[in-house]
């Protein structure tokens, strides 16, 4: 238990240490706040009455966009994986296409999506969904295929039909894989949203950072960036929490170890 608590606090201590060194360096060398604002200056700037409400508003826009795009991407990824898995021959036919779709640098999609879908929310949401679907599809496809052959053989022997094997064996087997794909997609979704906002539109942290950058408001650039990092970490953490809540059947060696040392 002691080790666990320590390992939880250690990264925070390291972050605090870096912030302290940063603060000290900025003060000691009298660095121009336009080049590098100190952590305290960033916090002070973020708390300004003309800054904080706008940070809040743009954060909300980014969060909403990210969650919508991520949800659509994950749904599309799961549906596509199930379709590829269930349609005979589709797996082999689609493998090069899946890789190809990921080899397209998504930055070049931005102008195309703008041409096709206009300057509203749609191109951004579509871009986020496109970026998110791939890790989900690939992980899910792996999970659907990599079932224990002993379980597959057993179910076939007792006469389980294709549908039963899909719903009772392949789908549950794919859930942990799905979550590992989901964690990656969650991390991608935030950075993609920020990039999409940078390129167009009038809201979101990406837009706000670009604006602050043009106005030489470096402290606001940092404030926006810190919020993005925090949001990204929160998404990753929530994905992990969701996995632990859903996949309860797996032997949890860490938890068992903790109980053992506690007893």
């Amino acid at each position: 238990m002691g080790n666990k608590r320590l390992s939880g606090w250690l990264p925070l201590a390291v972050i605090a240490l870096i912030a302290a060194a940063w603060e000290a360096a900025v003060r000691m060398f009298a660095i121009d706040p336009y080049i590098l604002p100190s952590p305290s200056a960033i916090v002070r700037e973020a708390m300004q009455p003309n800054v904080w409400p706008r940070l809040e508003m743009h954060t909300l826009a980014t969060v909403r966009r990210t969650l919508t795009g991520l949800a659509l991407g994950v749904l599309a990824g799961v549906a596509l994986a199930a379709a590829i898995h269930l349609i005979p021959g589709a797996r082999r036919a689609s493998a090069p296409l899946l890789v190809l779709s990921q080899s397209v640098p998504y930055i070049v999609l931005v102008p195309l999506l703008l041409i096709w879908l206009g300057f509203g929310e749609e191109p951004k949401i579509v871009l986020i969904a496109l970026v998110c679907f791939f890790p989900v599809t690939v992980a899910m496809l792996t999970g659907l295929r990599e079932c224990d052959p002993a379980l597959r053989g057993y179910l076939a022997m007792i006469g389980a039909d294709r549908r039963t094997i899909f719903t009772k064996l392949e789908l549950p087997n794919a859930v942990p894989y799905l979550f590992s794909g989901f964690r990656i997609a969650a991390a991608y979704s935030v950075t993609t949203t920020v990039a999409a906002e940078w390129f167009g539109g009038g809201s979101g942290l990406g837009y706000y950072i670009k604006l602050s950058y043009s106005g030489f408001e470096t402290a606001r650039v940092f404030a926006g960036t810190i919020i993005i990092i925090a949001f990204s970490m929160l998404m990753y953490g929530l994905a992990g929490l969701a996995e632990r809540l859903v996949v309860r059947w797996r032997p949890k060696t860490e938890r068992r170890g903790g109980d053992g040392s506690g007893a």
């Binding site: 007792i158 389980a160 009772k168 549950p172």
Partner: protein, 256 residues
């Protein structure tokens, strides 16, 4: 009454390699038959043909009197690995197997709880399979096969993966349960002692391509004494089967 299983002259090959060279055997209703043969002789392949997973090249299979070539879902099955779905509880695993065999949900639930209680695993009904020891998992796997409404139970080296002591306990446990709940059983094993302890009849297969070398009727009465090995006739039969398997075993290859 039709026998639970009738295999008539079944042959099969994997590519160019003949695996089964005309196997004929039958299991009567309520009879315990063991199938023994050198490693890799095709015992497990024969089970797959009976289960409908592999197609016989020649010959017929009848289960409960009905033609069963290439038909699945006509047998109850217990594999060497416990094969419990890790995301279903112990009771849930039994219920799923019964559901696949067509038992109504409520009935499957009742049977699973009832039998887990009978074999002393009541407290594990809602546990995940990984919380059970290997021997306990195999007990669940056996119960799951026993509760199936299918007449014929096929057991494929069910204790092969267990340590010697657990294996012996499991054999005695299975013997006591089976003797109270007689079912047609086809047990694939490579242990002569196991076959002698449990079965009414032992079918000895040759090396590949497998065919029936000889059948032994086990003369010991029931209920069987777990210390059967003390009886002189036990040693004689064991010796006879051992001799029969000997030349094949020397040339034997990988297990199977």
């Amino acid at each position: 009454m039709a026998p639970a299983l009738e295999v008539r002259d079944v042959a099969m090959r994997y590519g160019d390699r003949p695996v089964l060279g005309g196997v004929t055997l039958r299991v009567e209703d309520g009879e315990f038959v063991s199938l023994i043969g050198p490693s890799g002789c095709g015992k497990s392949t024969l089970l797959k043909v009976i289960g409908g997973l592999e197609q016989a090249e020649r010959g017929e299979i009848y289960i409960e009197g009905r033609p069963a070539n290439g038909r699945r879902g006509l047998i109850a099955y217990m594999p060497q690995q416990p094969s419990l779905l890790p995301w279903r509880t112990v009771a849930g695993n039994i219920e799923l197997a019964l559901g696949i065999a067509g038992v109504p949900r409520a009935e499957a639930r009742r049977l699973a709880r009832d039998w887990l209680g009978r074999v002393g695993l009541a407290e594990y009904a809602n546990a995940w399979p990984h919380m059970l020891s290997g021997g306990m998992q195999q007990r669940v796997s056996f119960i799951r096969a026993l509760l199936s409404p299918r007449k014929l139970m096929c057991l494929d080296e069910p204790f092969g993966a267990l340590d010697a002591l657990t294996r012996q306990h499991m054999q005695e446990w299975l013997l006591s349960i089976w003797e109270e709940n007689r079912r047609a059983v086809l047990l694939v094993t490579h242990s002569i002692e196991e076959a002698l302890l449990l079965s009414d009849r032992i079918v000895v297969l040759s090396a590949r391509p497998a065919s029936v070398l000889r059948e032994f009727t086990v003369p010991f009465g029931r209920p069987r004494d777990p210390k059967l090995w003390k009886v002189p006739a036990f040693a004689e039969l064991r010796e006879a089967i051992h001799e029969l398997l000997k030349p094949a075993e020397a040339a034997g290859t990988a297990s199977g």
